[in-house]
């Protein structure tokens, strides 16, 4: 009887712990070079100056703190509780800028698609708001 109850106990605890443990076993998706590039890069029909300012604003909006920045070089990196975003801007034309976002966590590069999408959405909203404001 005592063994049975101990077994019940163990089974119940294991059943409860399983989802928690399984979520830690999330495996990273392996992206090809072109898939990664298309996931991380977007083009905007704005000058590099406006796009850079909107990138900085978006980082603030998402609660990131600028860790290093070089407007002339078109580079910004920002951190938020162990997660880091790195942004590289390239001028493709007078009013065309490519933005590449790279994410990392705990010092390791890790593709965080929801975060990349959230950043691009915020950036797009900022650029459109700035355009309407001018």
């Amino acid at each position: 009887m005592t063994r049975r109850s101990a077994l019940l106990h163990t089974t119940a605890l294991l059943a409860l712990a399983a989802p928690g443990l399984l979520s830690g076993c999330q495996s990273d998706v392996a992206y090809s070079q072109s898939a990664l590039n298309s996931l991380q890069t977007r083009e905007f029909n704005f000058t590099i100056d406006k796009t850079f300012d909107a990138c900085v604003g978006s980082l603030f909006d998402l609660g990131y703190t600028i860790r290093s920045s070089d407007k002339r070089g078109g580079f910004v990196s920002a951190v938020n509780q162990g997660s880091m975003l790195q942004i590289k801007l390239d001028q493709l034309g007078p009013t065309n800028t490519a933005v590449r976002v790279s994410t990392s966590e705990g010092g390791q590069t890790r593709v965080d698609k929801p975060l990349i999408d959230a950043f691009f959405n915020t950036l797009e909203r900022r650029l459109l708001t700035a355009e309407r404001g001018t």
Partner: protein
């Protein structure tokens, strides 16, 4: 008896799992953060940047990043409770929690700038309207102190 114990363990585990969902305040949206952290200053961008840099030093922070072109500055200071840990684990390279301030100044017009002030305490993002306003006031005081004196009243000659 054993079934009751199992039920008790189950209830406790479910309660522990559900507790994080009981947060009293929802997280702020990017627009709300923007409203809390942004202030307007009646001065050119570069002047506001210089004044903000002076206020950051006045408040005991040390600079960790700055970009004049982008108009951004980030600075940190070590809270009293973590000073021992900070000293023992490599000083400025230590991973001891620090308070940070990040300032972004952008130009609205030649005589008006927008200043965004982000505050973090031991890594946690702080939504404090009062503290942002206090920093903004300090920057404005600095700007007033730096502004050139107004023209002296014209003297009437021969009087």
């Amino acid at each position: 008896m054993s079934a009751a114990r199992v039920m008790g363990a189950l209830c406790f585990a479910i309660a522990v799992l559900l507790l994080p969902a009981c947060e009293s305040t929802p997280p702020l949206s990017p627009t709300q953060w923007n409203a809390i952290e942004t202030r307007s200053v009646q001065a050119p961008r570069d002047e506001v940047l210089r004044a903000a840099a002076a206020v950051i030093l006045d408040q005991g922070y040390y600079f960790t990043a700055s970009d004049q072109g982008a108009g951004t500055m980030t600075a940190a200071r070590v809270p009293l409770v973590y000073q021992d840990q900070y000293r023992r684990t490599g000083g400025m390279r230590s991973s001891a929690p620090v308070d940070t301030i990040a300032v972004w100044v952008s130009q609205i017009s030649p005589a008006e700038s927008s200043m965004r002030i982000q505050l973090r305490e031991s890594g946690e993002h702080i939504a404090s309207d009062e503290r942002v306003s206090a920093f903004w006031n300090a920057v404005q005081r600095r700007l007033l102190a730096k502004s050139p004196p107004s023209d002296p009243p014209s003297r009437q000659e021969g009087v």
